[in-house]
């Protein structure tokens, strides 16, 4: 297939994942804010904006943090290049670019979702609609992944789509973890306090991991356990270990299809080696922040190598 088409597919799925993750994050923040008084709710919205990496854009426009302002900025503000509306527009645009590399079902799933999201975001979103809109965005991701699983040829296009998904997902989980940790857990002595438990619950919710974690840990919420779960537990599809294990398989498949390995395969192996046999204690000894910084950089480098190995750009 064309390098440009592969690039379109890869970014279609990156933006789809990003939009979906932003919606999850907002959803978790919303839930948190609902349980707070007004002053702490404001802190919660500030945290949602910071975690989604939209702080500069938001503060350039708004002096205060309120729920309505926050979610409208994240959902639909045209001046916000990271708004869900902008990102979903990019999902669709890239799907159009790669139209002849995706199945009709997948295209229609994305196009219909885009129409629905545009409709729901045409007017400012009030309290009574915000959960519905976020539900639509998350469903859009599921629809697209479902259509892909059920209708796409397992050729290189499938693996480029998945590579985009897992690179983005790994990046987003690492960022959420890092910011929450950095902002909310200034010292390990906080572990176990009730505020802390609530915040960590939010972290789990923002990657839809609360249920899985409860099942595995019988309701025990502690920072170390959650970090271990999100970084190292490759049974959970939104853990770093899972993302990289899946990514490694897709990159191996791409190398097989192209008859040769590239820089992306080498970097992937390096990244893997770093995760293998790693324990959460070792991560905490090194410092979670430093670990996540290294991880994010390695993850991004794999992304850059994919683009160059497969001639995404002229």
């Amino acid at each position: 297939m064309l390098g440009r088409t592969a690039n379109g597919l890869y970014w279609m799925f990156r933006y789809l994942e990003r939009a979906e993750n932003t919606a999850r994050l907002l959803d978790a923040g919303m839930r948190m804010a609902l349980t707070k008084d007004i002053v702490t709710a404001e802190e919660e919205w500030r945290s949602v904006i910071a975690t989604s990496g939209q702080r500069a854009g938001y503060e350039a426009k708004h002096g205060t943090y309120t729920g309505t302002q926050t979610w409208n900025f994240i959902l639909r503000d045209r001046d916000n290049p990271a708004s869900i509306r902008t990102m979903f527009g990019l999902v669709r645009q890239n799907a159009r670019l790669a139209r002849n590399a995706i199945s009709g079902e997948l295209w229609e799933a994305v196009n219909e979702s885009w129409l629905e999201i545009e409709k729901q975001l045409a007017d400012p979103v009030g309290e009574n609609r915000v959960l519905e809109v976020m539900g639509t965005v998350r469903r859009a991701g599921m629809l697209a992944h479902g259509a892909m699983a059920g209708s796409m040829l397992r050729d290189e296009s499938f693996h480029f789509a998945r590579a985009g998904t897992f690179i983005e997902r790994a990046d987003s989980i690492a960022r959420i973890l890092d910011i929450k940790y950095y902002l909310l857990l200034p010292s390990l002595s906080w572990v176990g306090s009730s505020l802390d438990t609530g915040q960590w619950d939010t972290v789990l919710r923002s990657v839809s991991g609360d249920r899985a974690y409860r099942w595995l840990n019988a309701g025990q919420i502690d920072a170390r356990g959650i970090c271990e779960f999100l970084v190292l537990d490759n049974r959970f599809p939104r853990s770093l270990a899972f993302c990289h294990s899946a990514l490694r398989q897709d990159l191996a498949a791409l190398a097989r299809l192209h008859g040769q390995e590239g820089e992306s395969n080498t970097l992937m192996r390096d990244a893997d080696t770093r995760l293998t046999d790693l324990t959460i204690d070792a991560i905490f000894d090194q410092g979670l922040h430093q670990f996540l910084l290294d991880f994010t950089a390695a993850n991004a480098a794999v992304g850059v190598a994919i683009a160059s190995d497969y001639r995404f750009l002229a």
Partner: protein
């Protein structure tokens, strides 16, 4: 102006009874519940939106995607009518291909004094660097979309030949898909010839025109100006349906005497380029140095036989409306036969006498620019105000050879569905013709364009026209 009074109604006889072609459809229609039809009518639009069958319009603010309105009453053509049309189209398309070849070689038709040389000298559509070159298989017009109009039971005329880059075939296919999804029972009752294998036929026809250097399975690709082009949907659609890559100029480069596309595993030669870009955007080295869309050097590869470009550069000369006026002579010259499909009577304003006639009768005529298309820059006398006619008169007098004039035809009508029931609207027909050394292949059907305003004769989608599914009945 209403042309409806004297127009040929394709569905009904003068006494109001239903013509044979529409009898099965009419019987079915009478059985339908109006409320249900109204609902289906609304659903059709949603369906087109969902599948993304849109065209891009660029206004002042931002890109907008629009739908071409779809009418759910089919336009029906009998098997007998179709056979007759087919023969006429084959004759005409074959003559056009020979004509273009001749214009770029010995120019016998000019030597024979059948058409004047001035028509193509200084004509931007005539490309000097095609002179003496024969494209693979001798084919210039790989895909043609002839516009036909009808004025009576047996009266079909060719209005335009569209031998350059005809568009709209995706609507032929998607209109049928939509009709079958909406009214499956209708297709069980009426035997309609299938159009769905057009993409396969297109792929096959293009492959048959591959250059000699191509392998057993020629690589065909669709060249689009990109995602912002008005017809991008169609380009992507055709590429997808053919199983071909959808390429842009930036994906291509000239390497080792071939045109190659940048794939994920390196540059791979392309054998046949179905291009949906204009000539001037093909090669910045040859045509337009400012073009960001072209592939530098592609014309050299082409002339050396390293790639097939469909349609061939320089084919647009036959779409010129002054050339059109000579089509009857052209058909006769190259086929030795009388044209089976007539032209619309055409006055060349370059001729003094014709110009006088046109100026005297502006209010009754349709005047078009010779290089124009899409219904732009034309005057429809009967529907224009006095001021519009006088303004146009000045342009015409200033540059007569830029115009031709035709009588205002009473285009046939076919009903459209409205809340008040069926009501007649003017239609035209664009069948799609594939030309290869093997054969001239015409898919039984086409794009019917319909003027949605009562009495309007302008069917162009850029001017508010809609489309219909076109049925060719089986015997």
């Amino acid at each position: 102006m209403s042309g409806s009074v004297n127009s040929f109604d394709e569905m009904h006889n003068a006494d109001g009874s239903v013509r044979a072609a529409y009898s099965d459809y009419s019987t079915w229609f009478e059985e339908q519940n109006t409320a249900l039809l109204n609902r289906k009518h609304a659903e059709a639009e949603t369906n087109f939106r969902k599948t993304g069958i849109t065209f891009n319009v660029y206004g002042e603010d931002e890109a907008e995607e629009r739908l071409i309105p779809f009418d759910m009453v089919p336009r029906v053509i009998t098997a007998q009518e179709w056979r007759k049309l087919t023969r006429g189209i084959e004759q005409r398309v074959s003559a056009i291909n020979s004509f273009i070849h001749d214009l770029y070689h010995r120019q016998e038709i000019i030597r024979a004094g059948r058409i004047p040389e001035r028509l193509f000298r200084n004509n931007a559509a005539w490309l000097p660097n095609m002179v003496g070159f024969t494209p693979p298989g001798g084919i210039y017009t790989h895909i043609v979309g002839i516009d036909l109009v009808r004025t009576g039971p047996d009266e079909f005329f060719v209005l335009e030949d569209n031998a350059r880059t005809p568009s709209g075939v995706s609507y032929m296919l998607e209109n049928r898909e939509t009709m079958m999804a909406m009214f499956p029972e209708l297709f069980m009752r009426v035997q309609v010839a299938s159009v769905s294998d057009y993409p396969r036929r297109l792929a096959k026809s293009l492959a048959a025109c591959a250059p000699k250097c191509a392998g057993d399975k020629p690589v065909v690709a669709v060249l689009t100006p990109g995602i912002y082009n008005a017809a991008y949907f169609e380009h992507a659609f055709l590429a997808d349906q053919m199983g071909a890559e959808l390429i842009e100029g930036s994906d291509l480069r000239v390497m080792n005497g071939r045109v190659a596309m940048r794939t994920t595993s390196g540059y791979k030669p392309v054998d046949v380029i179905y291009r949906r870009v204009d000539d001037e955007y093909l090669d910045p080295l040859t045509f337009n140095p400012d073009s960001a869309l072209g592939i530098p050097g592609i014309m050299d590869v082409y002339r050396a036989g390293g790639v097939t470009i469909a349609n061939a550069p320089g084919t647009g000369i036959s779409d010129d409306k002054a050339i059109y006026s000579f089509m009857p002579e052209i058909v006769e010259f190259y086929t030795g036969e009388k044209p089976l499909l007539p032209n619309v009577e055409t006055h060349r304003c370059a001729d003094e006498e014709s110009l006088k006639y046109v100026l005297d009768n502006l209010a009754e005529l349709v005047v078009k620019e010779v290089h124009g298309s899409g219904g732009y820059g034309m005057l429809i006398g009967p529907t224009s105000s006095k001021k519009e006619i006088e303004d146009f008169r000045k342009k015409l007098v200033a540059n007569p050879s830029n115009y031709i004039a035709q009588p205002t035809l009473a285009l046939s009508t076919c009903p459209i569905f409205t809340k008040k029931g069926l009501t007649p609207r003017h239609v035209d027909l664009r069948p799609f013709v594939l030309v290869s050394p093997d054969k001239i292949d015409i898919t039984p059907g086409g794009l019917t364009r319909v003027a949605l305003e009562e009495g309007s004769l302008v069917v162009n989608s850029s001017q508010g026209g809609g489309t219909k599914d076109t049925w060719v009945l089986k015997d």
